[in-house]
Amino acid sequence: MLIRFGVILLLLGWAFAQGQGLRVENAWVRLVPNQTTAAYMVLVNTGARPVRVLGVSSPIAARGELHQTQFVDPNDHLGMDHRHSPEMKGLEVTGMRPVKELVVPARGRLELKPRGTHIMLIDLRQPLRQGQRVRLVLRLEGGRTLSVDAVVRAQ
């Protein structure tokens, strides 16, 4: 009885240490015909402390990076044609910037979604298939990891 209790306690402790209250919902990878794609998901932190995601890897890609799509200031638009109609001036320029870490707030959530924060998967080893299950490994602070099962979707 005591042993069984101990095992349960150990398992609980292990589970706790794995994600420390971090849960992932609705993880998916976009189906594309080329070698670079993105993964999206909702990170839910049920713990009382913020959780930091420091990196990501996946067996399907040579590299995974944390990225943020953001507006870019094209500085001066030098060389732009200034005869454009007013509606065409100052159109938003977007770019991707690598981010060092994702912070999931205590008892909060962080959504990775198109046109926002995302995981970039670079140099896919094989073409993706719709419905395929893809493993993503999030590297958390403190040397912990969290394995995520994502589905390949054409969306």
Binding site: N34, M80, E87, L91, M96, R97, P114
Partner: protein, 205 residues
């Protein structure tokens, strides 16, 4: 008897006239979802000639009679480009086959060094069977971008083949006469139904 005839004509004709008037008015007062260009410039100002993913040379004027939707992007763009291309694919799918024949989606590459016609072909047709990818020399593409007020520049350069491209993520809609009519700023193409309404409006126009 003549008086009765007048009455019948009025009773039947008036609602018909009103319906016709309303229809004509509705056509005119249609408020497009995309930002309308108030001063429509000459079609020549939108003109370009680039290399299509099929290997042949294509000019904008080759698509006269069609509504043309233009997006500037590149194959190795993991977020904004596939998001927008998928949205344009959704718009295309809603259209009837007859309408589809009169709509051309163009992806103009802002990454001529990496986007070979072969890569562009595979990428572009994934989002829509008739979608066409266009590329050219850096000079040609810079000139086209300038015409559309589009900015692009390499960023996060890690090596000659590893970099990102910052670029304007606007969708441009041209009418069947080759006139630039509507622009969809970043993110607007997500509203499929409204985009479809606009495309139909441009097709009627």
């Amino acid at each position: 008897m003549p008086r009765r005839a007048i009455w019948i004509t009025l009773m039947a004709g008036l609602p018909l006239l009103l319906a016709i008037a309303a229809f004509l008015l509705m056509r005119d007062i249609y408020q497009p979802y995309g930002t309308r260009l108030l001063n429509i410039r000459a079609a020549e100002a939108n003109e370009f000639t680039l290399t299509a993913h099929t290997g042949s040379t294509k000019s904008l004027s080759d698509f006269r009679g069609k509504v043309v939707l233009i997006f500037f992007g590149f194959v190795n763009c993991p977020d904004v480009c596939p998001t927008t291309m998928l949205e344009l694919g959704s718009v295309y799918k809603v259209l009837t086959p007859g309408e589809q024949e009169r709509v051309q989606v163009l992806l103009i590459s802002v990454d001529p060094e990496r986007d070979t016609p072969e890569l562009l072909a595979k990428y572009t047709t994934f989002f829509g069977p008739t979608f066409l990818g266009l590329t050219g020399t850096p000079e040609q593409l810079a000139e086209v971008a300038k015409k559309y007020g589009v900015f692009f520049q390499k960023s996060a350069i890690k090596s000659p083949i590893e970099y990102n491209v910052d670029h304007t993520a606007t969708v441009f809609a041209l009418d069947p006469r080759g006139q630039l009519r509507l622009i969809y700023r970043y993110g607007m193409a997500a509203a499929t139904d409204r985009m479809v309404e606009d495309v139909r409006w441009l097709l009627r126009d």
